[in-house]
C-alpha cells in the first residue's frame, strides 16, 4: 500500500509561497487518511457480521427443520439396534426356589363394543347372552341402542369364547390384546402370591398391577422392563408347600378347626420354605374383601402374618432361655411352683388347677407350669424381658416381604407391669403372629442369633446379632426335646427326626373382653432335628376340637401336635433330610457336667 505523506513537498512549497499555513494541508491529509481507515474497518466488520449472520441462520434453520421433521414423522424404532428381543414389556415371572413357575403371563383378549359400528344390536346382544350366561340380554341391548359409544363387555375371554364372539359376526364387537397374570398352581401359596389386576386400561393394552402379597410388594421390580427375563425367585418350595397344604387341610378338617396356619422356616437363612394359611382362595380369581362379618374369617386373611394371637405356653421357652442366659438358673435348678401365687392382685393359676410342686426348670417347660415360668419372669424383671423380646422382633411387624405383613403388628401390654411380665412369660397379654413365633424359635434353633424371616431365596446364612448365648440356646433345645419325649407333646415324635417343640393352648379373647371357655388357639412350635436344628415349624389351629374321646379335647397336645408330626413326616423327606439317630450319650454327659 502506498502511503501518501501528510506533508507532500509538492503542495507545501506552493502554499508557503502563497503565505498559507502548511499545517492546514497536514490536517487535511490526516483527515482523509482517517476516513479511509474508517471505511476499511467498517467494510470488514460488515463482512464479519454477514458471515456470522449466515452461520446462525443456517444453524437455526437446521434445528428448526429437524424439529419440524421429528414433529411430523411417524415414531419408529431404530432398525439397526443390536438387541431388541431382550427387552420384553411383560411382567416378570415368579418362580419357586427350584425355578418352578408360580406366576406367569398369558396372552388373552378383552372384548369391547362400539355401538355406532353395530349392524344388528339385537342379534349381538342375544348372541353375547348365549355365550356369557351371566350377561343379561336386555341390559346389553339397552347399552347397545343407547347413547354409549364404547363399553367394555369382558376383561378376559378364552380363545373358545373369542371364536364364538367372532361367529356372531358383528363389526361393532371388537377385541383388544391383554396380558393376563396366571397362577398355574391355583390356590397353592395363594396368600404369598396375592394376586394381580388391571391398572390403566386402553384398547390395545392394559397394565397389570399387583394387588396383594409379593405381587404388590415387589410391583416395581416385576414391572421394570429390564427385569422381563429375570424372574423373582422366592424361597418357597413348590412340593413342600403342596404337601404342607394338604396335611394342614386334612388336620384342620379332622380337628374341626375353622382355620389353620403353618410356617416352615430355615433357621440359618431365615428363608420361609412353606407358609400356609387356611382357608385360602384362588389368586387367579381373587375374591372381593368381605364387607360384613369378621375380616379374620375371610379367606383373604393371612393368618400366618396378619393373625396376631396370644400364642400361649409356646412363649415359656423364651423365659427359660433368658433365665439360663442371664445365669439366674440352670436347667436343673429347682423352683417351687406350688400356689397360691399372687402378682399385682391377680392370681396365677395352672392348667386345670394342677399343682406341680417343686420342679426343675427343665420340668417346668416339660409340664408347662405357668407359676414356674412366672417366677422365672419375676427374677428376670420386666425391663430385661422387654429388651429380650424386642431383640427377637416381637415388638414390630415382621419384615416378611408381602404387603400384608406390615399390618401384623404385635399387640403389647400398654404398661409393662410385673403382672404383664408374668403373663407374657406364659404367652398371655402379648399377641403376635405365628411368623413372629417362628422367628423366635429360629433364634433358639440356630444357636442364639436373631434371624429375620424372608420370602426371597438366599445364598447363605443370614444370622443377625446375637440375642442369647450358645449355651442358653442349647439348654433351651434340650428342654424342647424333652417336651416331646416325655411332656405335653408326646404325639409329636417322628422317628428319625428328633423333634423338639413346645405346645401352647390359649383361650380366645372375646371381642368385648374376657375369654371364651370353649374356643382356643392351639399352637405347636417345633424345630427338627433338635440336636442340630435345620428347620422350625409352627402349626396353629384356630378353634380345634378333638372328639374321639368321651370329652372334647382342645389342648394343643391333642390337636396341633399330631398335625405337626404328620407334616414333619411328610415334608422332612421332601426337604432332603435323612432320618438320623439322635446322639443320646453326649446329651447325658453335658447334663452331668453342669450339675
Amino acid at each position: 500500500m502506498t502511503r501518501t505523506p501528510l506533508r507532500p513537498l509538492a503542495r507545501i512549497l506552493p502554499a508557503r509561497d502563497a503565505g498559507e499555513s502548511p499545517a492546514a494541508i497536514e490536517r487535511e491529509n490526516l483527515r482523509v487518511r482517517h476516513e479511509e481507515m474508517r471505511d476499511r474497518a467498517r467494510t470488514r466488520a460488515e463482512g464479519r457480521l454477514l458471515v456470522l449472520g449466515v452461520f446462525f441462520f443456517a444453524a437455526f434453520l437446521t434445528v428448526g427443520v429437524r424439529m419440524g421433521m421429528l414433529a411430523t414423522s411417524e415414531p419408529m424404532e431404530p432398525r439397526a439396534s443390536a438387541q431388541g428381543a431382550a427387552i420384553s414389556a411383560a411382567r416378570a415371572d415368579i418362580v419357586d426356589r427350584k425355578g418352578r413357575l408360580l406366576a406367569t403371563n398369558f396372552e388373552t383378549h378383552a372384548l369391547y363394543a362400539q355401538p355406532p359400528l353395530m349392524v344388528d344390536p339385537a342379534a349381538a346382544a342375544k348372541g353375547l347372552a348365549a355365550i356369557f350366561p351371566d350377561l343379561k340380554e336386555d341390559a346389553l341391548l339397552r347399552d347397545f341402542t343407547g347413547k354409549r359409544k364404547f363399553l367394555w363387555i369382558r376383561r378376559k375371554i378364552s380363545p373358545e369364547q373369542m371364536q364364538a364372539v367372532h361367529e356372531i359376526g358383528d363389526p361393532g364387537l371388537l377385541f383388544g390384546p391383554r396380558e393376563m397374570r396366571l397362577y398355574p398352581n391355583g390356590s397353592l401359596a395363594a396368600h404369598v402370591m396375592g394376586g394381580a389386576s388391571f391398572g390403566k386400561e386402553g384398547v390395545s393394552a392394559a397394565e397389570v398391577i399387583g394387588v396383594a402379597g409379593v405381587e404388590k410388594y415387589f410391583d416395581d421390580y416385576l414391572r421394570d422392563p429390564a427385569n422381563g427375563q429375570r424372574p423373582l425367585t422366592l424361597s418357597l418350595d413348590l412340593t413342600v408347600q403342596a404337601a404342607a397344604e394338604q396335611v394342614l387341610y386334612g388336620g384342620m378338617k379332622l380337628m374341626n378347626a375353622k382355620g389353620a396356619t403353618s410356617v416352615l422356616m430355615d433357621v440359618h437363612t431365615g428363608e420361609i420354605v412353606s407358609v400356609v394359611s387356611l382357608p385360602d382362595f384362588d389368586p387367579n380369581n381373587r375374591p372381593r374383601p368381605a364387607t360384613s362379618g369378621d375380616q379374620g374369617d375371610s379367606p383373604l386373611f393371612n393368618r400366618s402374618v396378619q393373625g396376631v394371637y396370644e400364642l400361649g405356653s409356646t412363649f415359656k421357652i423364651f423365659a427359660a432361655a433368658q433365665a439360663v442366659d442371664l445365669g439366674l438358673v440352670s436347667p436343673s435348678t429347682i423352683i417351687d411352683t406350688s400356689g397360691p401365687m399372687k402378682v399385682g392382685g391377680f392370681r396365677i393359676g395352672e392348667f386345670r388347677n394342677k399343682n406341680y410342686g417343686k420342679l426343675s426348670v427343665a420340668d417346668i417347660i416339660v409340664q408347662s407350669s405357668n407359676r414356674g415360668t412366672g417366677r422365672m419372669a419375676l427374677q428376670i424383671g420386666a425391663e430385661r424381658q422387654q429388651e429380650f423380646l424386642k431383640s427377637m422382633g416381637f415388638f414390630d411387624a415382621t419384615p416378611f416381604e408381602i404387603v400384608e405383613a406390615r399390618t401384623g403388628k404385635p399387640l403389647l401390654p400398654k404398661r409393662w407391669t410385673e403382672l404383664s411380665a408374668v403373663t407374657v412369660s406364659y404367652g398371655h397379654g402379648l399377641s403376635s403372629s405365628p411368623m413372629h413365633l417362628a422367628a423366635g424359635y429360629a433364634t433358639i434353633a440356630n444357636g442364639g442369633h436373631m434371624v429375620a424371616p424372608t420370602i426371597l431365596k438366599q445364598n447363605g446364612p443370614r444370622l443377625g446379632p446375637r440375642v442369647m448365648s450358645e449355651n442358653a440356646a442349647r439348654a433351651a433345645r434340650d428342654m424342647l426335646r424333652k417336651v416331646v419325649t416325655s411332656g405335653t407333646a408326646s404325639m409329636g415324635e417322628v422317628p428319625g427326626y428328633a423333634v423338639g417343640g413346645k405346645t401352647g393352648t390359649a383361650d380366645k379373647p372375646r371381642a368385648r373382653g374376657g375369654y371364651y371357655d370353649d374356643k382356643v388357639i392351639a399352637t405347636f412350635a417345633t424345630m427338627f432335628p433338635a440336636h442340630d436344628p435345620k428347620y422350625v415349624l409352627v402349626v396353629t389351629l384356630d378353634e380345634p376340637v378333638e372328639t374321639s374321646g368321651d370329652k372334647p379335647r382342645r389342648t394343643a397336645g391333642w390337636t396341633a401336635v399330631p398335625v405337626a408330626a404328620e407334616m414333619i413326616g411328610r415334608i422332612a423327606p421332601l426337604l432332603g433330610l435323612r432320618p438320623t439317630v439322635e446322639p443320646k450319650a453326649l446329651a447325658d454327659i453335658t447334663l452331668t457336667s453342669s450339675n
Partner: protein, 115 residues
C-alpha cells in the same frame, strides 16, 4: 496425461458410487431380515411362555396327586416317607450274568456242580 488422470478419476467415482449403492441395498436387506428374525424371536418367546405356563399348569401338584390316585393300581405311588431313605451300600449288587448256553450237556453239567 491429464486426460488419462481425469478419465481414471471419473471411473473411480463411478465405481465407488456403484459400490456404495450396492452396500446400501445390502444393508437394507439385512436390516429387514433382522426385523423378521426379531419378530420370529418375539413370537417364539410368546409361544415358549405359553408352553411353560401350560407345562406348569399340567404339573400342578393337585393334578399330579389326582393322577397318582387314579392310576394307583398301575403305579402304586405313595408320598415319600422317612422309612424310604436308605444307603447305597444297602442296595444289592446286580446278580452276575449267567454264562451263555452253548450246549445242553454243559448246562446239565454246571447244574450238577452247583448242587
Amino acid at each position: 496425461m491429464r486426460n488419462v488422470l481425469f478419465v481414471l478419476t471419473t471411473m473411480a467415482v463411478i465405481g465407488l458410487a456403484f459400490w456404495a449403492y450396492r452396500e446400501n441395498y445390502a444393508t437394507q436387506e439385512v436390516l429387514s431380515e433382522v426385523e423378521t428374525l426379531h419378530r420370529d424371536i418375539g413370537a417364539a418367546h410368546a409361544r415358549l411362555a405359553v408352553l411353560k405356563a401350560e407345562w406348569a399348569y399340567l404339573n400342578r401338584p393337585d393334578r399330579l396327586r389326582d393322577l397318582a390316585e387314579i392310576n394307583f393300581d398301575r403305579l402304586g405311588l405313595l408320598p415319600l416317607r422317612p422309612e424310604q431313605f436308605g444307603y447305597v451300600d444297602e442296595v444289592a449288587y446286580p446278580a452276575p450274568a449267567l454264562p451263555p448256553v452253548t450246549d445242553a450237556v454243559e448246562v446239565q453239567g454246571t447244574l450238577e456242580v452247583t448242587e
